[in-house]
């Protein structure tokens, strides 16, 4: 399906002058100009600036400078990553006009690699949501069907990649916020092992869960972007002191002999068409030589409850600093207390308030043990259950999202229904494990389905190894059905 060059190939062509970056960028800007009014993926996008950067890279390449492994590659950044001199809002009114005085470590690494930031993408406010409907500024649409949500919270980044507004994008994943929108938009989304990518400059939602990760239209692109952003950062105490893992060299290793478990407990939460694709993926891996078996990991079903205590608790504290004193919105009151209350009440949207309230409650005197303490103990149970299962299996497989993309507005007023979207993605978030969503066919509605690969801590390269195989099978499957239906494949044209 993709005749696209990988992003490393794009950069090599820019470097050796065989394909200048400016024309590529101009084509992308044209695509954005045509479809962005409908999709609304970006909160910040400055075509002039992008053109200037593209021109500068071409000039440097022509002068023989080393322009970097991502030279001329366009990257969309979720708007909860700080960018010096460019507004960073978290899709919240409370940060509406904030221009950070510093850039996130991942942004510095992208720039050092020669990447061009194409824009800042929309998200659920402070990354709290699964549909990108909770943005204070706009609702992003799924490029494959604009009556549907792109998923969330990194919906803008997923949509940007799916709509070809950028080669690749960065998102953040706290409970599935990269993987679920990747699945709903038909792209690859990867949440690395906690600590492999620096969180410095990622505006925190839930510190012990947040992890930055890549979106790509291919496993190669997601892997290439991951190799650039990963690796130790002394500014993040939770950053693992080890070199960035190499994942692209896993491309042709296959899955022969890999032990893969299909997690029955999570499959049970999903709609039949999604389950069917997941089984096809499992069968495919088995045909490729993997030892596939259905397994039960009951503790994973406790993840949702634990997550919706832990994440809001950490968020309630992380979001305290939005107080109208040093930056951002201030709604002046008669005194400081009133100013806090007015500022925060005006600046935060309903879902953010709900989670702050929930988290404050879970940490408050008399409830800490019953809720926060309990949830962190459940986290231990889940990690133990995974440890146990990973003695028997190298990887696990399950759906990414229970359904394909749902209609905008469908779940907006039922928080609990929305939270259930994350049931398959949350367990590995709680464990800090890597997980990846790979597009694998379509649902009954013709919308993409993502299957999810899970592995133990630091098994990131192995996930890529299996993902390359799944991608190959998905493409093969597409070619076959395209030939059968004698029509052009719909994923390739968007």
């Amino acid at each position: 399906m993709t005749a696209d060059p990988s992003i490393f190939e794009v950069a090599r062509a820019v470097q050796d002058g065989s394909q200048a970056c400016l024309p590529t960028v101009e084509a992308i800007l044209a695509t954005i100009a045509a479809r962005e009014p409908e999709i609304r993926a970006f909160l910040f996008h400055d075509p002039e600036q992008v053109l200037r950067e593209a021109q500068a890279i071409d000039d440097r390449a022509r002068a023989g400078d080393v322009v970097g492994p991502l030279a001329g590659v366009t990257v969309a950044l979720k708007d909860n990553l700080t960018t010096e001199e460019t507004p960073t809002t978290c899709a919240s009114k409370i940060l509406e006009h904030w221009v950070p005085p510093y850039s996130a470590t991942v942004v510095e690494r992208l720039r050092a690699a020669g990447a061009i930031v194409i824009g800042k993408t929309n998200l659920d406010e402070f990354a709290m949501g699964s549909s990108t409907e909770n943005s204070a500024f706009q609702v992003t649409k799924n490029p494959l069907d604009t009556t549907r949500v792109p998923g969330g919270s990194s919906g803008g980044s997923a949509a940007a990649v799916a709509a070809r507004f950028a080669h690749v994008a960065l998102g953040s994943d706290t409970g599935g916020s990269i993987r679920q929108p990747a699945a709903l938009c038909g792209v690859v989304g990867f949440k690395p092992t906690y600590g492999l990518v620096s969180r410095y400059g990622l505006i925190a939602f839930a510190s012990s869960l947040d992890q930055i990760g890549p979106f790509g239209r291919s496993v190669e692109d997601a892997g290439a972007l991951f190799e650039i952003i990963a690796g130790h950062d002394s500014r993040d105490s939770t950053s693992l002191d080890r070199p960035a893992p190499q994942v692209l060299d896993r491309k042709d290793r296959g899955v022969e002999g890999l032990r893969v478990g299909v997690v029955a407990d999570l499959v049970n939460f999903c709609s039949p068409d999604v389950v069917r694709r997941c089984r096809e993926a499992a069968d495919g891996l088995a045909r490729a030589g993997a030892l596939v078996e259905e397994v039960s990991v009951p503790a994973t079903t406790l993840g949702l409850s634990a997550y919706y205590i832990i994440a809001p608790a950490e968020a309630s504290s992380n979001l305290a600093r939005f107080d109208g004193v040093r930056f951002g919105l201030r709604e002046e009151g008669a005194d400081m207390t009133e100013t806090y209350v007015k500022t925060r009440s005006a600046g935060f949207g309903a879902e953010v308030k709900r989670r702050i309230m929930l988290g404050t409650y879970a940490l408050s005197a008399g409830y800490y043990e019953a809720y926060y303490g309990k949830a962190q103990r459940v986290r231990t149970l889940i990690i133990r259950a995974f440890d146990e299962i990973y003695r028997r299996f190298d990887l696990l497989l399950c759906p990414t999202s229970p359904t394909t993309a749902f209609r905008t507005g469908d779940k907006a007023n039922d928080p609990m229904a929305m939270y259930l979207n994350d049931v398959c993605t949350i367990p590995s978030s709680l464990a800090g494990h890597p997980a990846m969503s790979v597009p694998f066919g379509e649902g009954d509605d013709g919308l993409p389905v993502g299957v999810q690969l899970l592995g133990p801590a630091l098994s990131d390269p192995l996930l890529f190894q299996a993902a390359f195989v799944l991608q190959e099978m998905a493409n093969e499957h597409k070619r076959l059905s395209a030939a059968r239906l004698d029509r052009t494949d719909r994923g390739g044209d968007v």
Partner: protein
């Protein structure tokens, strides 16, 4: 069915979080928060006193930096972001009480 979290608790929690919940919204908040807590009944029921909590997914220890000065931010940059300043400081309205 009794709500997991009462109206009074909603109001108290809102104050702790420095949020103002409109009286007309308190019931809705109480219901929504209760439904999430209701869902958490599955973990509430577990007896886990002998299970250690996990606060960080990947265990690390003793991550330290050397005591070396790095560049601070230019004051003008920082102050230019503040809602209000005076005398090169951040200006805030009357504070009602001493720090706790």
């Amino acid at each position: 069915m009794a709500l997991k979290i009462t109206r009074d608790e909603v109001a108290h929690v809102a104050f702790l979080a420095r949020l103002l919940i409109d009286p007309s919204e308190i019931d809705q908040y109480a219901e929504q928060l209760s439904s999430v807590l209701e869902h958490a009944a599955d973990i509430e029921a577990l007896e886990l006193n002998d299970v250690e909590p996990t606060f960080r997914p990947i265990p690390l220890e003793n991550v330290l930096r050397e005591d070396v000065v790095t560049v601070s931010l230019p004051r003008d940059t920082v102050l230019s972001q503040a809602p209000e300043t005076a005398q090169n400081m951040f200006l805030v309205p009357k504070i009602l009480s001493e720090a706790p």
